[in-house]
């Protein structure tokens, strides 16, 4: 046949039809900031190391932690984990036990003798760090990483500052602290103990920059009539004596009164119990809810038998009698006033834990460096004092006083000092939008209760071993929502009605805007809020 039976037109694939032209909204992969990372005073990328822990990559997880914080095992014990308070999972079935995972990974690092990677950075600058508390050691760690030479002077015999002299052994065993400090020492930081800097002037000419991290080690006092009888001491002095002279623990008698509401007060009370005191009372002027001490610490102290007497101040100590003034608290207006009533309790020892102030004598008379009314050292946004090249951080400057905050200050100070030495000013990077709970689609997270392990042990100075097993670390880390950052669940790829998402060999995803019609299913079915619809 010369003529075809029918006219046949070749069909073509619909790939020729670029439906992307329909789109009015455009999905984009974004990184949002997980709340845990936002709130971490040390600036840890918590989500990232949890993700590595999920895969059982504990060494890599540890390396990720120490990018921002050289003290994981210590943090896993003494950090007040603000991260867990804001964890989005807390609004679902209990926040991720970040603190305990960090501790377990930190302990793993000590057991396996993991060490810091030495950096290749080079510099001919020399920096003096004064004080070996968390802030000073952290600054030294980072400055060393940046290639500088670092001298660190510590006035005491032992290193660690408040981590040693402010945190009792049962919360932070000294072998853990020592191991984490030694790692920093091994980087080549020149540490000199028993070297008190009395006047900074004497040191300035030897260094290109100085970081003052001398902490706040003087116990604050109040004027109270004390007649002879009860032993009266400061919590800080008690802790220091027990560290420097561990064989001769003080005898506090049968009943002890601790005055104050912060973590130091709680630590002092629990230490008193461990020293054999039968009866420990904390006296605090405001209500329990106002106590600056961390809630878990308060709970643990209560379970150990510490009694908390709120809305009372100590007016006089007379022999074994402690006279308390009762206070009234007006809930509505938040006003505290004396009720006029008195109360008498008995104590063999009274321990004051009402705050600490700074010994700023080393900067006195130095031109440029100013101190606040409370004796704290003034610094600018770059943590530099009024004298060029002299920086300060930690408890010595105004701000929050926790170990984690001190580590954060140390890190920031190191960055600022490094920038200063290289001739520019440190500017923090811009922050992404926060991935709050509303941005998540929790349908895809199986309910799974948080694994809690009580830290309460026997009433002695031994720490209770509560670390997770390797499997438990993985299981708890798996509870992380990965807020704001893709964890490769492939929901977007699976659900796209237009097959407009390409999955690459390495698991990464890419939107094919040739075909994406902009329906937005990918964004609404993304569990962790890592896709944003834009116009």
């Amino acid at each position: 046949m010369s003529k075809p039976f029918a006219t046949v037109v070749e069909s073509r694939t619909s790939l020729a039809n670029k439906t992307g032209s329909w789109r009015t909204m455009r999905p984009e992969y974004v990184h949002r900031l997980p709340p845990c990372n936002v709130t971490c005073p040390a600036g840890e990328n918590i989500q990232q190391w949890l993700s590595l822990a999920q895969e059982g990559k504990f060494f890599e997880a540890w390396q990720e932690i120490v990018k921002n914080n050289p003290f994981p095992a210590t943090m896993g014990r003494v950090c007040y984990h603000t991260c867990e308070k804001v964890c989005n999972r807390g609004q679902y079935d209990g926040s991720v036990n970040i603190n305990l995972i960090e501790r377990s990974i930190g302990d793993m690092a000590i057991a396996k003798n993991w060490s810091f990677k030495k950096s290749d950075a080079q510099s001919d600058k020399k920096i003096l760090v004064v004080g070996s508390g968390p802030s000073g050691l952290t600054a030294a760690y980072f400055l060393k990483q940046y290639g500088h030479s670092v001298d660190l002077f510590e006035s005491h015999n032992y290193l660690g500052g408040m981590m040693r002299y402010g945190v009792p052994k049962y919360r932070l065993p000294r072998h853990v602290l020592d191991a984490e400090i030694k790692r920093i020492q091994d980087l080549g930081v020149n540490i000199v103990c028993n070297r008190k800097v009395n006047n900074l002037k004497d040191e300035l000419s030897n260094y290109d920059a100085v970081y003052l991290a001398i902490g706040a080690s003087i116990a604050s006092s109040v004027s109270i009539d004390v007649e002879s009888g009860a032993t009266v001491m400061n919590a800080i002095d008690l802790f220091r004596k027990m560290e420097d002279d561990p064989k001769d623990f003080p005898n506090l008698g049968k009943s002890v009164v601790v005055y104050g509401g912060g973590n130091t007060a709680i630590d002092a009370a629990r230490t008193a119990l461990r020293l054999g005191t039968e009866n420990v009372k904390i006296v605090y002027r405001r209500t329990v809810n106002h106590m600056p001490a961390h809630e878990s610490e308060i709970q643990e102290a209560l379970s150990e038998g510490v009694e908390i007497l709120c809305l009372r101040t100590i007016s006089a100590i007379n022999g074994n009698k402690v006279i308390l003034d009762k206070m009234d608290y007006d809930e509505e207006n938040g006003v505290l006033s004396r009720s006029g009533e008195n109360e008498m309790i008995v104590a063999d020892s009274v321990i004051f834990a009402i705050g600490q102030s700074v010994d700023n004598s080393l900067v006195q008379g130095i031109e440029g460096i100013t101190v606040t009314e409370k004796g704290l050292i003034d610094v600018d946004n770059c943590m530099m004092t009024g004298l060029k090249g002299v920086f300060a951080g930690g408890d010595v400057i105004p701000g929050k006083r926790t170990v984690t905050n001190a580590i954060g200050y140390g890190k920031k100070a190191a960055r600022c000092i490094d920038a200063f030495l290289r001739g520019y000013e440190y500017v923090p990077g811009s922050k992404n939008e926060v991935a709050n709970f509303k941005k998540l689609n929790t349908e895809y997270y199986k309910k799974d209760a948080r694994k809690e392990i009580s830290r309460l042990g026997d009433l002695n100075f031994e720490e209770k071993d509560v670390s997770y097993s390797d499997n438990e670390v993985v299981k708890e880390a798996m509870r992380c929502f990965s807020c704001g950052n893709c964890f490769h669940c492939d929901n977007c790829y699976s659900y796209c009605p237009d097959n407009a998402i390409t999955k690459h060999e390495d698991g990464t995803l890419e939107i094919n805007y040739d075909y994406c019609k902009g329906c937005g299913i990918c964004a609404s079915e993304c569990p962790c809020g890592a896709i944003k619809m834009t116009t």
Partner: protein, 321 residues
């Protein structure tokens, strides 16, 4: 991290859709509306069938949305042997295709018929019943978007009670589709005693893929009905398709179950039943059930339907009475 997502980094309990080498039997460039539940369900179902049959499938398509959007001449979105004949004869054509493969000795080729609810529950009902009756070796998949969508949202026999469509406009006398009408085709299929009947949802791809794979490996007539929300016809934002599918299941309005030889053998339990209102309120086709002129008993009618489903299909767990 969570086995409820479509895929994960650990390769645990992942869907075919999440796999990098999924067959993509329905490829990009099709003209389904933004957020189309049916287009997505069709790709998932046929990908699952393709995988289960190791690539040896032939697909017969009824007239309807799916056919219109996937083969507007000269474009074709199907990457598998695919044929379209008429609106109502899909089951019959599929029976013929299956018979042809049988005669040629190619019994490894699995035949799938597919269509929307109109072409299945209304127009194609006679042919479908015949296919069931003869127990032809065909898997019939009905993508149920609960009305005739591409012609302008007219009511079908799968339209749920009280839904607004172009032909069941609520007014002073009517409240949408009459609750006394409609038919339950999965039950009708079960009554034929065919080897396998299942109801699935585009909001649960793990379950959908499993049911399709199971059906492909069974000889004889199989029927799977997939709930496919339609943003345009039901009136909801295009991004909400999956959420609405999920709400239908969680409220009991769309029971997921499977039956073998006419007997219920499994159902997807509802862990926490959500009130039907949550499902209805987000759809404009039920908007007349809310607002100041709404009759309060209407929600009750739908809640009763959902509660009956839970009892009838044992969505509270198979041990329940």
């Amino acid at each position: 991290m969570s086995s409820l997502t479509m895929g994960n980094r650990f390769g645990r309990n992942t869907t075919i859709q999440s796999s990098i080498d999924r067959p993509n039997t329905l490829t990009s460039g099709h003209r389904a509306c933004q957020g189309c539940g049916e287009g997505l369900a069709a790709r998932c179902a046929i990908d699952a069938a393709y995988t289960a049959a190791k690539g040896k499938i032939a697909v017969v398509n009824a007239t309807g949305c799916l056919e219109v959007v996937s083969c507007s001449f000269p474009d074709n979105s199907w990457n598998v042997p695919w044929i379209h004949s008429l609106f109502g004869n899909t089951a019959a054509v599929a029976s013929g295709v299956a018979a042809a493969f049988k005669n040629k000795g190619q019994t490894d080729v699995r035949v799938i018929a597919q269509g929307g609810d109109g072409g299945t529950t209304d127009i194609g009902m006679g042919c479908l019943s015949g296919m069931f009756d003869r127990n032809d070796d065909v898997l019939y998949i009905c993508y149920d978007n609960q009305a005739y969508m591409n012609t302008g949202v007219q009511r079908s026999s799968a339209t749920p009670a009280l839904a607004r469509t172009a032909t069941t406009m609520p007014n002073s006398q009517y409240n949408g589709s009459d609750p006394e009408t409609g038919k339950n085709v999965p039950d009708i299929a079960m009554a034929h005693g065919i080897p396998y009947v299942a109801v699935a949802s585009v909001g649960n791809l793990h379950d959908l893929e499993r049911k399709v794979a199971k059906a492909v490996n069974i000889r004889g007539a199989k029927y799977i009905q997939v709930h496919c929300p339609c943003p345009l016809g039901w009136g909801f934002p295009t991004a909400e398709t999956i959420r609405i599918a999920r709400l239908a299941v969680k409220s009991g309005m769309y029971p997921l179950f499977e039956a073998e030889n006419g007997n219920l053998v499994g159902s997807t339990p509802i862990e926490e039943q959500v009130p039907v209102e949550e499902y209805l309120r987000v759809q404009k086709r039920f908007a007349h059930l809310f607002g100041k002129n709404a009759l309060p008993e209407n929600i009750g009618i739908l809640q009763k339907i959902a509660n009956n489903n839970i009892k009838k299909y044992r969505l509270g767990g198979m041990s329940d009475e």
